[in-house]
């Protein structure tokens, strides 16, 4: 104990303590919180009941009292727990105001609330469940897997999300969002459930291993050191703009300096 007391004012004490506390909290959470897979698939009757109550308050005004859908929102029968988890964890649902598309926002619901809602919606009809993390684990992929993930990404995804994953335009004010910093779980769920305008990419066409390859490619692409400021990664449009502003603009300033007369005696 004396060892700790004497060192409690050490420079590293606070960060270490914080790390330790986080570790304990994390371990505790892992120990007590049920795995999402379990909660979604075999939601306890209590959870389903809680979810139904929450649904009536949060979701039913658009999706109907029993999730059958209304003019404002589509039916949730058969969308599965994964869809609910994706939409709510990324803050897209509930929608703040009607619009062409629900944007990504900060999620304000707790994991328990989302789990309860997922469990309830999963009872409405069979649909994709929340996956186990092994389904999209990309840490063990080989280089060839990653390269193939890139091919799959450019074949299936980049038309909307851009080759660098920063997103792109869709008709009538809709858009494909950026994939930078998106949780692997959410990428997986989005592919399987086809949120909003995004098509479904089911396991029949793209098995889990291929999804993991795509996620692995994206996560590795984000980590690549850059060849300079990215200028928004939107390609030639921003390159042209910066070429004019910095190139012509900057060199014109030099030209003004070169052609000007310096300070005069009178």
């Amino acid at each position: 104990m004396r060892f700790l007391t004497t060192r409690r004012r050490h420079r590293a004490a606070k960060p270490l303590l914080l790390a330790f506390a986080l570790l304990v909290m994390g371990a505790f959470y892992v120990a007590v919180s049920p795995a999402p897979q379990v909660s979604a698939d075999a939601g306890t009757s209590g959870q389903v009941a809680a979810g139904k109550n929450l649904f009536a308050v949060t979701c039913s005004s658009c999706h109907g009292l029993n999730g059958e859908g209304t003019k404002q929102g589509p039916s949730l029968v058969g969308v599965g727990a994964a869809a609910v988890d994706f939409q709510m964890s990324t803050g897209r649902m509930p929608m703040a105001h009607p619009g062409a598309q629900a944007p990504r926002r900060v999620n304000t619901y707790t994991a328990e609330e989302i789990a309860a809602l997922s469990a309830y919606v999963a009872t409405l009809g069979p649909g994709p469940s929340i996956p186990n993390s092994s389904a999209y684990d990309y840490s063990k992929l080989t280089d060839e897997d990653l390269a193939r993930g890139g091919e799959l990404f450019r074949t299936n995804c980049s038309a909307c999300h851009n080759a660098s994953g920063i997103g792109g335009a869709l008709p009538e004010g809709k858009y494909a969002p950026s994939l930078h910093g998106v949780e692997p779980l959410h990428i997986y769920e989005a592919m399987r459930t086809g949120p909003q305008q995004m098509p479904v990419f089911s396991a029949g066409a793209i098995p889990d291993h291929d999804v993991a390859s795509i996620i692995g490619y994206l996560k590795n692409l984000e980590k690549q050191p850059s060849a300079g400021f990215s200028l928004g990664s939107i390609g030639p449009v921003s390159e042209g703009l910066f070429g004019w502003i910095i190139g012509i603009g900057g060199l014109s300033l030099f030209a003004v300096w070169i052609a000007s007369r310096g300070a005069r005696a009178r």
Partner: protein, 575 residues
């Protein structure tokens, strides 16, 4: 105030008047003499070394283009050392982790090699691409400067035509380079060109098969483009640039109006040493800025786009900026196609690409001749126009720029839609109207601004500038005292050549030459010049200065009266 002679001669500078203690050549001997006896270097030095260049920042825009071209040649040579212009398929085994094992063309593989395995390769690639962007941009800016200042007038029409040729070739040079790395953007661009060539009525399919050596993408296009990019186009560019510069030296540089500047002289600093240092220094500045751009700003990260695959595409597939306006025109064109018998006429592709590009370069090439046909102006011009002094030309130029800009913006309609959160379809519908309406608005606004500035100049000439001093008269009226402007300024703002709108339909001009399409010409002449504000005559100026001399402050009210008086005097004063 002592002034130097109006037109000082260059003789005092030609004679090497170096005092003995200064460094310099005592006499023509040694190697210079050896060289002189063989190639007459002395004559060249005498002709060119002290040539005068006027100072103005906008005269350096063309230099930016020239220097980016030199940078392009230097960096291009470096890139050719490793680049393989081949579409043969290889499996990637290089250092970039996320492509390992992928089949790709040798061209793309070598582009990756330059980017990841050759030290400095990526930097040089980025400098090369930025230099290309800058080259076309500087060329465009230079051309606009020449247009708005009327530097294309006699005797420089040929140099204008060479410039238009350089512009067209630079687009081909840029596009062929964009296509070489054989990445997804390159291929998408080529796919577009394939569709564009196909759309040409009658010969489209034949042209496509001849260019691609068969069906798209074929196996030979990259090596053909390589020849175009590194030999054919740069060769012609070099020759045209040489001709452009030779004519520049022969005509001597134009200058802006200013005290002592006339159509008969050129005032500035000598080539050696001042302009050698300034222009040479500017080359290093352009090169330095390009290197820094290459170091700090990503351009065309081919490894993100991946090797070309005709079944893949990326959002935000755009050409480089200089093809953006064609892209925009193609995007906003309605889907018109005629199916006559067993044939298909693709107006939706042919009109906004092939035809529109042809139209732009035709209009650019013809403009100096059209203007001369209207003005019948047969004199040489070495003093530049101030844009306000030619309101219709300036307004036409701004309208053209606006039209181009609208097409250009339409080329990024998807980027606009995502970044400004508007509907892609709405942007497209808006641009379809804007390309026609915006230039008209720009024309009217620009012309009004020019005329306003012309009136202001006339006002300053006749009644002087505002002094900022407010006087109160005995009966309580307020007026601002005006101070006459300097002779320097008065001279500077009265240098433009003024044209009278054709009063009637003339069939022969002042030289007795027949005028083609005289009715159209007369109407255009009126449209061109009738609203110009005339500069005051000598008599009017004298009268105005006598009327409100510097001693007595000018009454704001009486300014208009003086105007009336001017008009009377102007008519009377004509001999």
């Amino acid at each position: 105030m002592a002034r130097p002679a109006k037109i000082s001669t260059t003789s005092e500078y030609d004679v090497p008047s170096t005092p003995p203690e200064e460094p310099g050549f005592r006499q023509f001997s040694g190697f210079p003499a050896w060289l002189d006896e063989r190639v007459g270097v002395g004559k060249i030095v005498k002709f060119g070394l002290r040539k005068v260049f006027p100072d103005h920042w906008s005269f350096l825009l063309g230099e930016i283009a020239l220097y980016s071209f030199i940078v392009l040649l230097l960096t291009g040579v470096f890139l050719t050392i490793w680049f393989k212009p081949s579409m043969a398929e290889v499996e990637y085994t290089g250092t970039y982790q996320l492509m390992r094992g992928l089949p790709m063309s040798e061209a793309f593989e070598s582009a990756l090699r330059i980017s990841f395995d050759i030290r400095g390769g990526l930097l040089v690639r980025q400098i090369h691409h930025w230099a290309a962007i800058l080259f076309v941009a500087a060329l465009t800016a230079h051309m606009l400067r020449v247009f708005f200042t009327g530097a294309f007038r006699k005797p420089r029409e040929l140099n204008w035509l060479i410039g238009v040729g350089l512009m067209a070739l630079s687009l081909i040079a840029g596009f062929s380079g964009y296509s070489l790395p054989d990445d997804l953007l390159s291929g998408t661009g080529l796919r577009f060109v394939d569709g564009l060539i196909r759309s040409i009525p009658l010969i489209g399919t034949w042209a496509e098969f001849f260019v691609f050596g068969g069906e798209f993408p074929g196996s030979i296009l990259i090596s053909r483009l390589y020849m175009v990019h590194i030999l054919l186009i740069p060769g012609i560019l070099l020759a045209l640039i040489a001709a452009h510069m030779t004519l520049l030296v022969y005509h001597k540089h134009t200058q802006f109006p200013g005290p002592g500047r006339t159509d008969k002289n050129v005032v500035g600093y000598p080539l050696f040493p001042v302009y050698m240092a300034k222009a040479g220094g500017f080359f290093f500045i352009v090169f330095g800025v390009l290197i820094l751009m290459g170091a700090l700003m990503t351009i065309n990260p081919v490894w993100v786009f991946g090797p070309y695959n005709p079944a893949q595409v990326t959002a935000g597939s755009q050409p480089d900026w200089y093809m953006g306006w064609v892209e925009g025109a193609v995007r906003i064109m309605p889907g018109w196609e005629s199916h006559w018998g067993g044939t298909t006429w693709s107006w939706n592709v042919f009109v906004p690409s092939v035809l529109l590009m042809g139209l732009l370069f035709t209009v650019l090439g013809l403009y100096p001749f059209i203007e001369r046909w209207i003005t019948r102006d047969n004199s040489e011009h070495h003093l530049l126009d101030r844009p306000r002094d030619v309101p219709t030309r300036t307004a036409l130029g701004v309208a053209g720029m606006t039209c181009y800009a609208m097409f250009w913006i339409a080329g990024g309609n998807d980027i606009l839609a995502t970044h400004f959160k508007v509907s892609l379809n709405a942007v497209t519908y808006f641009m379809r109207v804007a390309v026609f309406v915006a230039p008209i608005i720009a024309f009217i606004v620009t012309k009004r601004i020019c005329l306003g500035l012309q009136r202001k100049d006339r006002e300053r000439l006749l009644h002087g500038g505002e002094s900022g001093v407010i006087d109160r008269s005995l009966i309580g009226g307020y007026s601002e005292a005006h101070t006459p402007i300097s002779q320097d300024e008065a001279w500077t703002i009265t240098q433009q050549r003024q044209f009278e709108p054709a009063a009637e339909v003339e069939t022969v001009d002042a030289d007795g030459q027949p005028i083609k399409w005289p009715k159209l010409r007369a109407r255009l002449s009126r449209w061109y010049f009738s609203s110009d504000v005339a500069k005051p005559s000598r008599a009017a100026l004298e009268a105005a200065h006598h009327h409100d001399g510097p001693a007595e402050p000018t009454d704001i009210e009486s300014g208009t009266k003086a105007d009336i008086l001017d008009d009377q005097l102007e008519t009377d004063a004509h001999r």
